[in-house]
């Protein structure tokens, strides 16, 4: 069991002390987080680390997961794509399934939700729960992890009616926020340096992935870790690899994708990826279970360069993970990747497979640059994107909700 004190050697004792002081006025606060999956995807990962730490700091925190059938997740996947800008027509019958599923979940969760002081609803799946909790006494916050900068309007109009009733929203970046009639907080997500996916590994554990996946330890690996999702552009990554391979025939590509229980499109995209790979023995398309955290960790450490060539991205936690492991990242010039990949400092931003190929070639020729960027990348994550910062901002947000809207809240004077 990880304790908050275990983070002190990584972030500094002063950061831990600060969290304890900030949590002091929030002790006993009843907080409930609600999302739609326990496994797979960035939201579940964030909650898995955030919830126990909030509990340790004295808050009374629960994590609830709503249940739904295939048609419910078909509908919410449609929402997800539409909110990221894809024209998706979500049929009326699916919307009925969506609302009915939330109504059924509300039956099970109502007493917990209505009694809570603060309820965080993550992403669109559980949005209508609020409607079914008429006697709620706490503040309800919609935590949107999606890039909402250019939503497909008909779907956003439909969902907005649910969002409007919340007390506040949280977006990862200002660019993602859509006008809503309440306060819009900004909190970028984070990674847990002590989780299986990010903790230090022995050389033996890293080496194990070479034999397990038939990789050549002597040749550089280009790696993308992400779900098989068109917005992650895995086909574009293969094209970039092919262009780079013309100049670096020794290059290997690993695409490592996990599955999330709320993503029904993965199979179709995986088939497209395999077709594009066309049996190239240096392209390794891996389908890993959602709990293969140590394997992902080892692959990221084994990689020479990490790529995240998304064309749409909420935040891109896989980028943060790679930077934390001291790897420069070639990232798509979109969403939260921009906040993390700083051209020529922590990696390169690209817009096309051609651009990605060019940067891969550049880094293959500049090992000293790879090392220099790696050091900068790790420090950048240490200062900005670890769970302790996320926790601090969530605590600050709850202080803000509890103590008022003025520009400066002096806690000493309130207690």
């Amino acid at each position: 069991m990880i304790s908050i004190q275990d983070y002190a050697p990584i972030v500094g004792q002063e950061v831990i002390d600060q969290l304890r002081q900030l949590a002091e006025p929030l002790k006993g606060l009843k907080v409930v987080h609600v999302n739609s999956t326990k496994e797979g995807g960035g939201v579940a990962e964030i909650l898995r680390m955030l919830v126990p730490l909030m509990k340790e700091l004295g808050l009374d925190v629960r994590w609830e997961v709503i249940r739904g059938g295939e048609r419910f997740f078909e509908c919410t996947k449609g929402f997800h794509n539409a909110l990221q800008g894809k024209s998706v027509v979500v049929h009326e019958s699916l919307l009925q399934v969506y609302e009915k599923t939330n109504e059924q979940n509300a039956e099970d969760l109502r007493s917990v939700l209505e009694e809570a002081d603060v309820v965080f609803i993550h992403d669109p799946q559980p949005l209508p729960l609020l409607k079914w909790c008429p006697n709620r006494k706490g503040k309800w916050i919609w935590r949107c992890h999606i890039d909402l900068s250019h939503p497909f309007r008909p779907v956003w109009r439909y969902l907005r009616q649910f969002v409007a009733d919340f007390d506040a929203s949280v977006f990862s970046l200002a660019d993602f926020a859509q006008p809503v009639p309440h306060t819009m907080f900004l909190i970028p997500p984070s990674i847990d340096p002590l989780s299986e996916k990010n903790m230090e590994l022995s050389a033996q554990e890293v080496n194990a992935v070479y034999s397990r996946f038939n990789l050549d330890k002597e040749r550089p690996i280009l790696l993308q870790v992400s779900r098989y999702d068109r917005f992650k552009d895995p086909v574009g990554v293969i094209r970039a690899y092919r262009l780079a391979k013309n100049f670096a025939p020794y290059l290997q590509l690993v695409l490592a994708g996990g599955g999330a229980t709320d993503d029904p499109e993965g199979e179709a995209v995986l088939a497209e990826v395999n077709a594009e790979a066309n049996g190239d023995p240096d392209i390794h398309v891996l389908r890993l279970p959602s709990d293969a955290h140590t394997t992902i960790n080892a692959l990221q450490r084994a990689a020479y360069i990490v790529i995240q060539k998304s064309i749409k991205e909420g935040f891109g936690l896989t980028v943060t993970e790679a930077l934390w492991k001291g790897k420069p990242v070639i990232g798509g010039d979109t969403g939260g990747i921009r906040l993390q990949v700083v051209n020529h400092h922590t990696g390169f931003l690209v817009s096309t497979p051609e651009g990605a190929a060019l940067r891969v070639r550049h880094l293959l020729q500049q090992p000293h640059k790879v090392a220099e960027m790696g050091v900068k990348a790790r420090e950048f994550v240490r200062e900005n994107f670890l769970i302790t910062r996320d926790l601090r901002e969530n605590l600050s947000l709850m202080v803000s909700l509890s103590f008022g809207d003025e520009e400066r809240i002096e806690l000493e004077m309130r207690q």
Partner: protein
């Protein structure tokens, strides 16, 4: 009012955390930036000059405020970026006079240009405002010499609160360390001058803490020699 004016009292170490709030206002060209600046919540000016330092971001060593960064990276207007970057927010009595100065610089540039510079929709300037949550760490510094032990262990929130945020608190509008040390008369004059020479705008808060710790150590080594 500065929290650290010395009336023979110890220095109370405070800490702060930032709550960033999207205003929903954005600018896609320089004229929109100016128009929004004229009406934006003063907390947004504060955020883009000071509080943003507490936000996750890569600190650009070239520019000390978000308006200059946007002018350089999004508008690609370096004369404007340089003029905005040179604005020292501490020179202005309040946020309203700082606001007027920024608008003045932008208007001057708009008059110089034959067309209004603009950016792609995904490079817009987003106005953010902030709330600051200030809390007591229960740590006190009795003697200036003790700063050598305390400063290296300060959180970045404390560094921000005492060394940057303090500069907009009346009546002294300087950092809290100097405000406190001045209460001892001339005794720490050299130390005060060294602290005044620490430039807070071009380094991360972690690096700023390192520089402050170095100044403390250096000052007291010299005194002890």
């Amino acid at each position: 009012m500065s929290s650290q004016i010395n009336n023979g009292r110890a220095f109370k170490v405070k800490d702060c955390a930032l709550v960033a709030i999207a205003t929903g206002k954005r600018a896609q060209n320089l004229r929109e930036l100016r128009d929004n600046l004229a009406v934006i919540h003063p907390g947004s000016i504060y955020y883009h000059f000071w509080a943003g330092r507490l936000r996750p971001r890569f600190d650009d060593p070239q520019f000390n405020n978000d308006f200059a960064v946007w002018a350089h990276y999004a508008l690609h207007d370096d004369p404007l970026a340089e003029r905005l970057a040179v604005i020292d927010p501490c020179e202005f009595q309040d946020l309203e006079s700082l606001r007027r100065e920024i608008i003045e610089v932008i208007e001057e540039r708009l008059e110089e240009r034959e067309w209004v510079p603009w950016v792609r929709p995904d490079k817009q300037f987003h106005f953010v405002r902030s709330q600051i949550v200030v809390f007591d760490t229960h740590a006190v510094i009795e003697r200036p010499e003790d700063l050598c032990d305390i400063v290296p262990g300060l959180s970045v929130g404390s560094v921000f609160y005492h060394f940057i945020d303090a500069r907009r608190r009346e009546p002294l509008a300087i950092d809290d360390f100097r405000a406190w040390l001045m209460g001892f008369g001339d005794k720490y004059r050299d130390f005060i001058m060294r602290l005044a020479a620490v430039e807070p705008y071009f380094v991360t808060l972690v690096e700023l803490r390192r520089q402050l710790a170095h100044v403390c150590m250096r000052s007291f080594d010299r005194r002890s020699q």
